[in-house]
C-alpha cells in the first residue's frame, strides 16, 4: 500500500519535474543539499551559466540529508554534502551507487554571541559542551562566562553540521540524548540568530564565524591545549570537528554534473572554495 502511495507521489513529482524541464532551455542540472557547500556551488554555477549556457538549479532543502534524499529519489542529479557519508545513506536507497567527490574541507565551530565571548568564554571542554547541549548548564557563569542564561540554538537533525557535532560529542548521532531545543536550519539562519540573541550558542560552519558578531570558541583538551578551527588545524585534522565538503552523484559524474564538478576541482573552482573560507580539497587528510 505504502509503496503504491510512494510511487504515486514520485510519479507526480516526476511529471512536475518534466514540466519544469520542458519550460527551461533543455534539462536543468538539479543540485540540492548543504547550505555550507551552497555558496561555492552557486558561484561555480553562475560561471557555467555565463560561459557555457548551462541551466543549473541549486537548492538547499533539508541540508546534507535532504540533498541525499533528493539524489536518492531522483529529484536531483547532485547532492551537496557537508559530512562523511554514512551507511544509512546507502541502505535508504539500495539501488543507488553514490560516488562522492570531495571539493574542500571545513570545520564545525561552536559559535557564541558577542556578550558571551566578551564575558570571557573563549574555550569549552567536551564535558562543558555536553552540559550546555543537555541543558544541565543553564547559566554562562557555570563555565566561566557572564551571568546570563544559556540559549542553545540546535542545528536541525539531518543537517551535516549537527551530525558532525553529534558524532564528535557522543560517538554516534544515534547515541545523542533526546533534547528539546529551539532549532535553526541554514547557516544564514544560525548566524543571524546567534548574533542577535544574547547568551546564545550554536553549531556553525567555521567559515561563517566572522569574529565580529559571532565568535568561534576553542575546544579545551584535558591537557589544557585549546583547539581552534583554524585553516591549518582543519587541514591537518587536529581540529576534531573537521569535515569534508562533497559533491555526491549516483554513479560517476556525467554530463552537466561532470562539467560542474570538474570546474570545482580545477584551480578556478578551488579558488572559489578558498574565497568562501573553506580549505581546498587537494591537500589534507580526509576528515572522518
Amino acid at each position: 500500500m505504502l509503496r503504491t502511495g510512494q510511487r504515486l507521489l514520485l510519479t507526480a513529482g516526476l511529471i512536475l519535474a518534466a514540466a519544469a524541464a520542458l519550460t527551461a532551455a533543455g534539462a536543468p542540472l538539479r543540485v540540492n543539499g548543504s547550505t555550507t557547500v551552497n555558496p561555492v556551488v552557486a558561484e561555480a554555477s553562475d560561471l557555467l551559466r555565463a560561459e557555457r549556457g548551462l541551466t543549473i538549479q541549486v537548492d538547499t532543502q533539508g541540508g546534507s540529508s535532504g540533498g541525499m534524499a533528493a539524489l536518492g529519489e531522483g529529484r536531483a542529479e547532485v547532492a551537496m554534502v557537508s559530512r562523511p557519508l554514512n551507511p544509512e545513506d546507502q541502505t535508504h536507497y539500495p539501488k543507488a551507487h553514490f560516488v562522492a567527490t570531495r571539493i574542500g574541507l571545513d570545520g564545525v565551530a561552536l559559535v557564541v554571541s558577542a556578550d558571551v565571548w566578551k564575558g570571557g568564554v573563549r574555550s569549552l571542554t567536551k564535558a562543558q559542551v555536553r552540559g550546555l547541549y543537555e541543558g544541565k548548564v543553564k547559566n554562562w557563569k557555570e563555565v566561566g562566562g557572564p551571568d546570563r542564561r544559556v540559549v542553545f540554538f540546535n542545528k536541525e537533525a539531518g543537517r551535516g553540521t549537527w551530525e558532525v557535532f553529534a558524532h564528535w560529542l557522543y560517538g554516534d548521532p544515534k547515541a545523542a540524548p533526546l533534547v528539546t531545543l529551539p532549532e535553526v536550519g541554514s547557516n544564514e539562519e544560525g548566524r543571524s540568530k546567534v548574533s542577535a540573541t544574547p547568551g546564545s550558542i550554536s553549531q556553525l560552519s567555521a567559515a561563517w564565524a566572522d569574529g565580529k558578531r559571532i565568535f568561534a570558541v576553542g575546544i579545551r583538551q584535558d591537557d589544557g591545549r585549546v583547539l581552534l578551527p583554524t585553516p591549518a588545524a582543519i587541514l591537518n585534522g587536529t581540529y576534531p570537528l573537521s569535515r569534508p565538503l562533497m559533491m555526491v552523484t549516483d554513479g560517476p559524474p556525467q554530463g552537466a554534473a561532470k562539467i560542474l564538478i570538474d570546474l570545482l576541482m580545477s584551480p578556478r573552482g578551488q579558488a572559489l572554495v578558498k574565497k568562501n573560507g573553506y580549505e581546498p580539497a587537494a591537500v589534507g587528510e580526509h576528515a572522518k
Partner: protein, 301 residues
C-alpha cells in the same frame, strides 16, 4: 445561429462540470493519499498520535498535541490582532471613504496580500524579534523566537485578506437599505454599525475565517521566527507564559528537515504525513465554513 449558441452553452456546461469533477477528484485523491501514507502511525499509536505530547523521532515517539497547540496559539494571536484592524479598516474604506479613494486604498492593501511570505518572515527576523523581547520583558523570554512573534507576524500577513473581504461584505449591503436608514433619521455612524454591519455580519465572520485559513496554512514566515522547539506543551493553557516560549506548529514541523529524514522509515514517514492530514482537514474545515458563510450571506442580501 441559435443552434451554435446552444451548442456552445452545452460545451461550457460539460467543460465546467468536468473540471469541477476533476478538482473534487484531486481533492479526494489528496485526502486518500495522506490517509494511506499516514496509516502506519495510526496503526501504531492510534489516537495517542493526536493526544501525545512527546515527539522524539529517533525512539519512535510521535505526539502532535504541542504542535496542534502551537498552531492554535499563533492563529488565535493572529486573529485577535488582525480582525479588529482588518474589519476596522474595512469600515473606513466601505463607509467613510469616497468610492474612488476606496478603490485606491483597497488596491494598495491587496498588493500587501501578494507579498511573498518569505519576505514577511525575513522582516520578522529583522524587526519583530527584538520588539517581542521588549514587549514580553515581564515573562522573560529566552530569545525573540516565540509563539507570540509567530502570531504577530501572521497577523500582519492576514490583515490584507481580512480587510479586503470585510470591505466586500460591507460594500455588498444594498444602497437602498442605507438610504432608508438615513431617511429614518439614523446618523451615518448608526447606519454603518447597526444596519450595514448587521447585514454584512456573515461576510465579516467569513472574512475572519478565511484569514484564519491562511494563518493555519502559512509556513515559511512562521518558520523563521517561532524557534521550532518541539514538545512545548504548556503547564497552564490559558496564560501568557507559553506565548513567550519558542514552539512548533504543524506547518513549521512539516517545513523542517525532518521531512527529508523520515523517508525510508514507514512509521516516521507516516507520522509526517499524519501532520499533513491533520493540517489538511483543519484548514479545509475552516475554509469550508468561511465559504459557506459567504454563500449564506449572499443569499440573504
Amino acid at each position: 445561429m441559435r443552434n451554435t449558441g446552444r451548442r456552445r452553452l452545452e460545451l461550457t456546461r460539460v467543460a465546467s462540470l468536468g473540471f469541477t469533477a476533476l478538482a473534487a477528484l484531486v481533492f479526494l485523491g489528496m485526502l486518500v493519499l495522506f490517509g494511506v501514507e499516514s496509516l502506519p502511525v495510526w496503526r501504531h499509536l492510534g489516537l495517542g498520535y493526536v493526544t501525545g505530547t512527546r515527539w522524539f523521532f529517533r525512539v519512535h515517539e510521535f505526539g502532535i498535541l504541542p504542535m496542534v497547540y502551537g498552531t492554535l496559539a499563533v492563529s488565535a494571536v493572529a486573529l485577535l490582532v488582525a480582525v479588529p484592524l482588518g474589519v476596522g479598516t474595512a469600515f473606513f474604506t466601505a463607509e467613510v471613504l469616497p468610492r474612488r479613494a476606496r478603490r485606491t486604498v483597497k488596491a494598495a492593501v491587496e498588493l500587501l496580500a501578494g507579498v511573498p511570505s518569505v519576505i514577511y518572515g525575513l522582516l520578522g527576523v529583522l524587526l519583530l524579534r527584538d520588539f517581542v523581547v521588549k514587549l514580553l520583558a515581564h515573562w522573560d523570554p529566552l530569545s525573540g523566537d516565540t509563539l507570540l512573534t509567530g502570531g504577530l507576524l501572521l497577523a500582519v500577513m492576514i490583515v490584507p485578506t481580512v480587510m479586503t473581504l470585510a470591505d466586500d461584505a460591507l460594500s455588498g449591503v444594498p444602497a437602498d437599505h442605507r438610504m432608508a436608514a438615513r431617511a429614518l433619521g439614523l446618523t451615518r455612524a448608526e447606519t454603518a454599525l447597526q444596519v450595514a454591519a448587521r447585514q454584512a455580519l456573515p461576510g465579516l465572520v467569513s472574512a475572519a475565517l478565511l484569514g484564519l485559513g491562511r494563518a493555519l496554512g502559512e509556513t515559511i514566515a512562521v518558520f523563521l521566527v517561532i524557534g521550532r522547539q518541539d514538545n512545548q506543551w504548556p503547564e497552564r493553557l490559558l496564560s501568557v507564559q507559553p506565548l513567550a516560549n519558542a514552539g512548533q506548529t504543524l506547518t513549521t514541523k512539516l517545513g523542517g528537515s525532518e521531512t527529508f529524514i523520515a523517508y525510508g522509515d514507514p512509521l516516521h514517514w507516516g507520522a509526517i504525513m499524519g501532520l499533513g492530514l491533520v493540517l489538511f482537514v483543519v484548514v479545509t474545515a475552516v475554509s469550508l465554513a468561511g465559504a459557506s458563510l459567504v454563500t449564506w450571506g449572499g443569499d440573504r442580501a
